[in-house]
């Protein structure tokens, strides 16, 4: 005769069905300890400057999530701090994540001042990730220095062919957008190495000391909307400047840029381009190629060359409304699951099982198929 009570499985934090599905997580942050990371810097002069009392990333942004979270800066480590592969495996077990694509998560590097010092951190981070993750059988996204395209290519040539390097990781930000021609050598190297370009939000935020930037005072504005706005700016800039006519095989993933804006871009880009196409021929790539128009309509590039990470999913509670948004947002073609572990914005794969909006095809596409299509696994 049994008791009417039963203790629940402490190892499982998501619905049982999640453990039956194959789940790839495209945004899993590792946080190396600073001293160990700095021991990987090869250049003695640069390592000396990076290990002053100011540390490797002394420039801080104007806004900080710490003001918006009860535990303050601990929001960066709400779930803990993964330093080695076994930490990642332990964290993934309870969330039914089978294949985390890890990155070293130094998202404030882009806003630091000195390019050579930033390059030193990039080299160290890539070597740390190779030693402690890629060589341990864990898929890793290598860091690509946006501020120095020449060094970015060097780093892709040095690291990009190593086993278990599955993607390249850089940032979208309020600085030079990725449609600029200076990035062509980077795109060429990425295509050659069959690596998708993951663009994560950078802590550089909205241009600071501007009218809009100075008036943003909440994290909801900054992370919730500043990042998606800059994500959209980068997407449209790359499409309209002809990046994908020159590099049709380049795949770009935006991380933490939001995703429900896809319908807005699809219809608005096409409407504006089809009514006003005559300036495309004076963008540098098109002018150099002697071409007048884009090869495809803008929304086709969006669907074919871009992918969007889903964290935080922010689903409508009404399943019918959610299903409509998934369809309009081309979720089956464009969305890729991401957890953002260990941050307070963590998104375990619950939505796919608690909302009736997902059919199995859409669920499998988001949880692993779209990622498998573009990652070098």
């Amino acid at each position: 005769m049994g008791s009417s009570t039963e203790q629940l499985d402490p190892e499982a934090e998501v619905p049982e069905q999640a453990f039956e599905d194959y789940i790839i997580d495209l945004d899993f942050h590792v946080n190396p300890m600073t001293d160990e990371l700095m021991s990987y810097v090869e250049d003695d002069v640069i390592r000396d400057k990076l290990t002053t009392e100011f540390g490797p990333t002394p420039v801080v942004g104007k806004w900080d999530a710490a003001y918006a979270i009860k535990e303050g800066t601990e929001g960066l480590y709400t779930q803990g701090r993964a330093e080695y592969a076994e930490d990642v495996r332990e964290a993934c077990k309870k969330f039914a994540i089978d294949e985390p694509i890890v990155n070293p998560g130094i998202n404030n590097l882009n806003q630091q001042h000195h390019p050579l010092l930033k390059n030193g951190v990039t080299q160290a981070a890539n070597d740390y990730m190779l030693d402690n993750f890629a060589d341990e059988g864990m898929y890793t996204s290598m860091m690509v220095p946006k501020w120095d395209p020449e060094y970015a290519v060097e780093e892709i040539e040095r690291v990009g062919s190593e086993d278990n390097i599955a993607a390249a990781y850089s940032w979208f930000d309020p600085k030079v957008p990725w449609g600029a021609e200076q990035f062509d050598p980077v795109f060429e190297a990425l295509v050659e190495h069959d690596l998708p370009l993951l663009l994560h939000g950078s802590l550089a935020y909205w241009p600071q000391h501007t009218h809009i930037g100075d008036e943003m005072m909440t994290w909801t504005e900054v992370l919730g909307f500043d990042w998606p706005i800059h994500g959209m700016v980068n997407v449209v800039n790359m499409i309209m400047r002809g990046v994908f006519d020159r590099f049709p095989d380049l795949n770009v993933v935006l991380q933490e840029a939001g995703h429900w804006w896809v319908p807005f871009l699809r219809y608005r880009m096409d409407e504006f381009y089809e009514m006003h196409p005559e300036d495309v021929k004076i963008t540098p790539r098109k002018h150099e190629a002697g071409e007048r128009y884009l090869d495809r309509t803008p929304s086709e590039y969006l669907r074919d060359n871009f992918y969007l990470c889903t964290q935080p999913f922010a689903m409508p509670r009404n399943a019918g409304e959610a299903e409509g948004m998934l369809n309009l947002s081309l979720a089956e073609d464009m969305f890729i699951y991401s957890s953002d572990w260990p941050h307070q914005t963590l998104d375990p794969p619950t939505w796919f099982y608690t909302s009736r909006a997902f059919d199995d095809d859409t669920r499998q596409a988001i949880l692993h198929e779209n990622a498998e299509d573009i990652l070098r696994l």
């Binding site: 009417s4 629940l8 535990e71 709400t78 779930q79 701090r81 375990p348």
Partner: protein, 125 residues
């Protein structure tokens, strides 16, 4: 069939009191309902185990983080004994253990009466 209860027929034994360490919780399935039972040190509280935000298991609040020594706080969420609240281990949504209310949104989840007798914890569903 319910374990016989010295505190009333509506109560079900869920654990020995010393099985729930101070500042932590356990989760039990009582008559098909997931219940988290917390020991704040001052008292025992029972609340629905699933956070209304994203269905996180609340009883994991207070669990030690991975490499906790390298973070500023030690635990994923936690129990606040002074205010009788629990912070969700995923996103830190704070739930009142007495009322089941989340102050920011006004959302509520169920709470349940708890009795302790003869060293055992009982919950009424």
């Amino acid at each position: 069939m319910s374990t016989e209860s010295p505190v009333g027929d509506n109560f079900t034994k869920v654990a020995a009191a010393d099985e729930i360490e101070q500042g932590t919780g356990i989760a039990v399935d009582v008559k098909g309902i997931e219940v988290a039972v917390f020991n704040t040190g001052d008292d025992f509280y029972a609340i629905l185990n699933r956070c209304a935000h994203q269905q996180a298991p609340l009883y994991k609040a207070g669990e030690e983080k991975i490499n906790a020594e390298d973070t500023w706080t030690d635990t994923r969420g936690g129990v606040d004994a002074e205010n009788a609240t629990v912070s969700c281990p995923w996103h830190l949504w704070e739930w009142d253990l007495e009322t089941g209310e989340h102050e920011v949104t006004g959302k509520c989840i169920s709470t349940f009466d708890v009795e302790v007798a003869d060293g055992d914890v009982y919950v009424s569903i």
